[in-house]
């Protein structure tokens, strides 16, 4: 073992190689300098200002050039391996083979890295001098990653060179070794997406991070947000990989025979193993891709074309390898074996539901936590705008046993629904025959929802699934409403008050948003956040989804984490928010009351004759689309167009207060009672309509009945109620 690691670098030969390749280093250095920082400087000459993006682009390009030179330099320095006479001379030199190998490898490493390092330093010194607040530690880390991974990119190329006899074969198979992980991953993802219901990958780049050093060098250098797996550990993994493969290559270097040096393959197993594996995964990839494109499921007619396409590809590789058609019959037989193997694996994988992949749901006892992404069409749990996520990243992780059980139940309900449909994927449009959840309007029920679940098992493994399902299959998830995670996503600024730099709006409005009182300077924001959070979490899912008390006020809050990163929320308060109300009272805040509005509020009445059970939800105060179930309207045909007509009554200003005890927001009703629409005086900062909708409690029925008789019941186009047409 000690002998394995004992080698001496021949300094004189190292210097000789560096001197001989000076021109190459100068050339790559110039090419890199043009991209970083000259590109940024020329951009400055044009725009008059420095653009950070141009610097980053330059850094990406010089890393690309680094990778490119990794492919070139081994062929410059180890080219003697491809000539019998040259190899004889090198092996006759008075230097141990391992010393010669490591000296040349070190020289290759230096030739690749010297220009990169110089340009990296010069470019970043320039960057540092013109761009403020540069993260120097990050720049050093990025350089370290490129340094750490270079060896692991070089060694597969050297491995290909050691097993092939010509530069072209070495380059071809070096490239092949580098792209095999990507094709393997592509085949896995395409196969999963094509035939496996619920297929999802927990961390899309995780596999390539460990399988492809080229992917890893870019991912580690430029994905600065990655925390897990630890980038330093990954870099150490690749350093270890590079060192181990260096010794594997050394083994092949030492046994390389000059008699075979000029043959296409110096190792008789190299071509069969690499080309067979490559063909196998390309076939798998193409089968999956063609099945996806055809949309016909497993139909063998679809597989004919990719089968023959890979046949031609394999024969081309075989002909190149054998420098002719001499072994064509053997090549055809080999391909037949590979084809049979891939076809049978593919077919079995498809017919047996991915060998249990589809139906697997983990036992709750084995689950440590669950990552959930749930995009339902009604924003029941929370809505998060894309710009919100940059301010407050969406919280997906559920670790409470109760929440985990809820997610697993939903997962099982989804699988039950698919089981009745033969585990076929749902296109999101065509109505499904089975109904795992009853009690919903079909229009509500069939709305497409996306659910992505990643189970983090106690063993450290992850199980990821992703489904597009009818909303009706996911209603169990509404039970998560009382979890801290939903609170974090609904009101991120209250969940993370320390992250808030300032509040541009901190007011309390009356329930119908006609009047406001500022809280700034009166109420301590952090105390408010703590009180509201405590109140929110004290309510269970029943109390959240089916509130039994009227809204008392709405907090209008716009919080910023930096100058241009702000989000707005309308936060309802009712009598159950005792700590919040106490805080407001102790801070001398009086809740504002309704003042008259120019526009009359209206109550939309459900169609009394419609007996469908409506599952109705009033969205949170920033919902951008409000929805009435068909229970609320009659469809009237105008030509070929069906128009929903709703009945409503206009409520005189002075009578609106009678309705206040019954108005609810963020609530669900299983009966069609009525919906109050007001045109508020105050518009929440980033809401684009003044219309606000409130669900009415069942207790409002006598009052509504009375108004039906006292006030005029009118009829209007459904959309005119929802959208304001100026």
């Amino acid at each position: 073992m000690a002998k394995l690691f004992s080698f001496k670098i021949n300094g004189a030969y190292l210097r000789f190689l560096l001197k001989r390749n000076t021109r190459f280093m100068v050339l790559t250095g110039i090419a890199m300098t043009v991209l970083f920082p000259i590109l940024a400087f020329t951009n400055y000459l044009i725009d008059g200002s420095y653009n950070q993006f141009v610097f980053t682009t330059g850094r990406v390009f010089i890393l690309l050039l680094l990778v490119l030179s990794v492919f070139i330099v081994p062929f410059l320095l180890f080219s003697y391996l491809n000539s019998k006479k040259n190899l004889d001379v090198y092996h006759a030199l008075p230097i141990k083979r391992r010393d010669l190998y490591f000296t040349t490898l070190l020289a290759a490493f230096a030739i690749i890295l010297i220009p990169y390092t110089l340009v990296y330093i010069i470019g970043n010194v320039y960057y540092f001098s013109v761009i403020p607040n540069v993260d120097v530690i990050l720049l050093i880390k990025q350089y370290y990653f490129s340094l750490a991974l270079t060896l692991s990119i070089v060694t597969p190329i050297l491995f290909a060179m050691m097993n092939t006899g010509t530069g072209v074969d070495g380059l071809l198979y070096g490239l092949l070794l580098h792209i095999i992980p990507s094709i393997l991953y592509g085949a896995y993802v395409t196969f999963g997406s094509a035939v496996l219901l619920g297929f999802s990958v927990a961390d899309p780049s995780l596999f390539l991070l460990y399988a492809s050093p080229i992917w890893a060098i870019f991912e580690l250098t430029f994905n600065t947000t990655r925390i897990f797996p630890n980038p330093i550990l990954i870099s150490l993994y690749w350093i270890a990989f590079g060192l181990i493969t260096s010794w594997v290559v050394l083994y092949y270097y030492q046994i390389r025979r000059s008699e075979k040096a000029e043959e296409p393959f110096t190792n008789k197993w190299f071509f069969p193993v690499i080309s067979s594996f490559f063909t196998f995964i390309v076939q798998f990839f193409l089968y999956s891709a063609f099945i996806t494109l055809s949309g016909r499921g497993l139909d063998f007619r679809t597989l004919i074309f990719p089968f023959f396409l890979t046949f031609v590809m394999y024969l081309i590789l075989d002909v190149i390898a054998n420098r002719g058609f001499k072994h064509l019959i053997r090549g055809i037989i080999n391909f037949a074996i590979i084809g049979a193997l891939s076809l049978s694996t593919f077919t079995f994988g498809t017919l047996f539901d991915g060998f249990g992949y589809i139906t697997r749901v983990p036992d709750a006892n084995n689950v440590e936590k669950v990552e959930l992404e749930y995009y339902d069409p009604y924003s029941f749990l929370y809505q998060s705008y894309y710009y919100d996520q940059t301010t407050f990243p969406i919280q997906k992780m559920y670790s409470e046993a109760e929440d985990i059980a809820t997610i697993i139940e939903t997962h099982e309900a989804i699988l039950e629904g698919f089981k009745e449909n033969g585990y076929k994927k749902w296109d999101g449009y065509s109505p499904l025959e089975s109904t795992p959840r009853s009690g919903l309007d079909s229009a509500l029920y069939q709305q497409s929802s996306n659910v992505s679940i990643v189970y983090h098992l106690k063993s450290g493994a992850k199980i990821a699934r992703s489904y597009t399902v009818p909303f009706g299959w996911t209603t169990d998830l509404l039970n998560l409403v009382d979890s801290e995670n939903v609170f974090k996503n609904r009101y991120p600024m209250l969940a993370n008050p320390d992250a808030v730099v300032r509040n541009t709006v901190f007011d309390i409005l009356d329930p119908l948003m006609s009047n406001s009182v500022t809280l700034s300077g009166k109420v301590n924001f952090k105390l408010f956040a703590a009180a509201y959070k405590s109140d929110y979490l004290s309510l269970n899912e029943q109390q959240h989804n089916y509130p039994d008390t009227g809204v008392l006020g709405i907090i209008h809050l716009t919080s910023c984490t930096s100058v241009d990163m702000c989000i707005t929320r309308g936060i309802p308060i009712d009598a159950r928010y005792t700590q919040t109300l106490s805080l407001l009272a102790s801070s001398g805040v009086t809740l504002p009351t309704f003042i008259s509005s120019e526009k009359l509020p209206i109550v939309v009445l459900p169609d009394a004759t419609n007996e469908k059970a409506p599952f109705f939800h009033i969205q949170s105060l920033l919902g951008n689309v409000d929805f009435f179930t068909p229970s609320y309207y009659d469809e009237v045909k105008e030509g070929s167009v069906a128009i929903g007509m709703v009945k409503y009554i206009e409520i005189p200003q002075e009578r609106i207060v009678e309705l206040l005890p019954y108005i609810r927001t963020n609530a669900i009703s299983e009966k069609a009672i009525g919906v109050l629409r007001v045109e508020s005086n105050i518009v929440l900062s980033d809401r684009n309509t003044q219309y606000m909708f409130y669900l009415l409690d069942e207790d409002a029925l006598p009052l509504l009945q009375q108004w039906r008789t006292e006030l005029e019941v009118k009829e209007i186009n459904y959309e005119s109620i929802i959208y304001k047409y100026e």
């Binding site: 021949n10 004189a12 030969y13 000789f16 001989r20 080219s79 003697y80 000539s83 006479k85 040259n86 004889d88 001379v89 092996h91 006759a92 030199l93 008075p94 230097i95 141990k96 083979r97 010393d99 025979r257 000059s258 008699e259």
Partner: protein
């Protein structure tokens, strides 16, 4: 001293050298001859440490060679096609050799450069085949090794250069006690320069010794008769070769010349004359005697 003990080598299960025992004395100039594919180059590559023998031992002055830099520093192997770095000049190649061979002699290099008109700073890949050979020899001789292994290195040189080089090598050997092994098909050249010779055939060294001793062991005799006789009349001599032109025969045989002449005279020839025999002829007749090339 180069010592090979029971050295065997195979390539892809094909035996190339079979239990070779061979010794080259220090300071000698050894010619290595043999038919194509006999294993001459393989033998030189084993001695130089390029490849490892499958069996047996190879030592130079008692030390193993393969992957032993200290010994290999004293050996220089010049292959049949000389190697030069891509796009290199003679000056760059000199630097290359100086890295690995501390014995590289700048004075010798200058002297050789004065004798051979090779431009030092021009790209070697622009040189003719003969110039490349000269370049290779300049570098090899400048290394000043204890053991110089030349694999058909004189092929491609014009006669003047060949002669100059031969003289140079002869002089240097005398001055420096260098051991030289030269493989070649051109036995006339070897005869001029080598003091010892070895013949490889059928995977073995079948003949090895001083050039003069070998030459003294082979005899070419012209024999004339007054009457017609058959060729097989010489069968008792085990001749390597018999030529007949009328009643005159040319017989090539091995052994003591006095004994051979006495035996021939008993056949009552009218003419018995010993003819001169060079090394090339000996090689040809010896190989014919072993069945090589007889069918052509």
């Amino acid at each position: 001293m180069i010592q090979l003990t029971s050295v065997s080598k195979s390539f892809d299960n094909k035996l190339v050298l079979d239990r070779i025992d061979w010794t080259v004395k220090k300071g000698s100039v050894f010619g290595l001859v043999g038919p194509n594919g006999a294993g001459k180059s393989t033998l030189l590559r084993i001695i130089s440490g390029v490849i490892k023998a499958d069996n047996g031992q190879v030592t130079v002055d008692g030390e193993f060679v393969y992957d032993e830099p200290l010994v290999k520093k004293r050996i220089l192997f010049l292959a049949d096609e000389p190697f030069f770095l891509h796009q290199s000049t003679l000056r760059e190649m000199k630097e290359f050799y100086k890295i690995f061979y501390p014995s590289f002699d700048e004075t010798m290099y200058t002297k050789l450069l004065n004798n051979f008109p090779i431009p030092e700073n021009e790209k070697i890949n622009t040189f003719s085949k003969g110039m490349k050979r000269q370049t290779g020899l300049i570098l090899a001789l400048s290394v000043n090794p204890d053991v110089l292994l030349l694999d058909e290195s004189f092929d491609g040189l014009d006669p003047v250069m060949r002669l100059t080089l031969k003289r140079f090598i002869s002089r240097e050997i005398l001055n420096r006690d260098m051991t030289v092994v030269i493989s070649s098909h051109n036995l006339r050249e070897l005869e001029d320069i080598c003091d010892q010779i070895a013949l490889i055939d059928n995977k073995k060294v079948v003949m090895s010794g001083e050039v003069d001793t070998i030459k003294g062991d082979f005899h070419k005799i012209q024999v004339g008769f007054s009457h017609d006789v058959k060729e097989d009349i010489f069968a008792f001599l085990n001749p390597l070769h018999v030529d007949k032109m009328g009643n005159v025969f040319v017989v090539v045989a091995k052994g003591d010349i006095e004994g051979i002449l006495d035996s021939i005279k008993k056949l009552e020839p009218v003419l018995v004359t010993e003819l001169p025999l060079n090394l090339e002829e000996i090689f040809v007749y010896e190989m014919e005697g072993r069945g090589y090339g007889k069918t052509i």
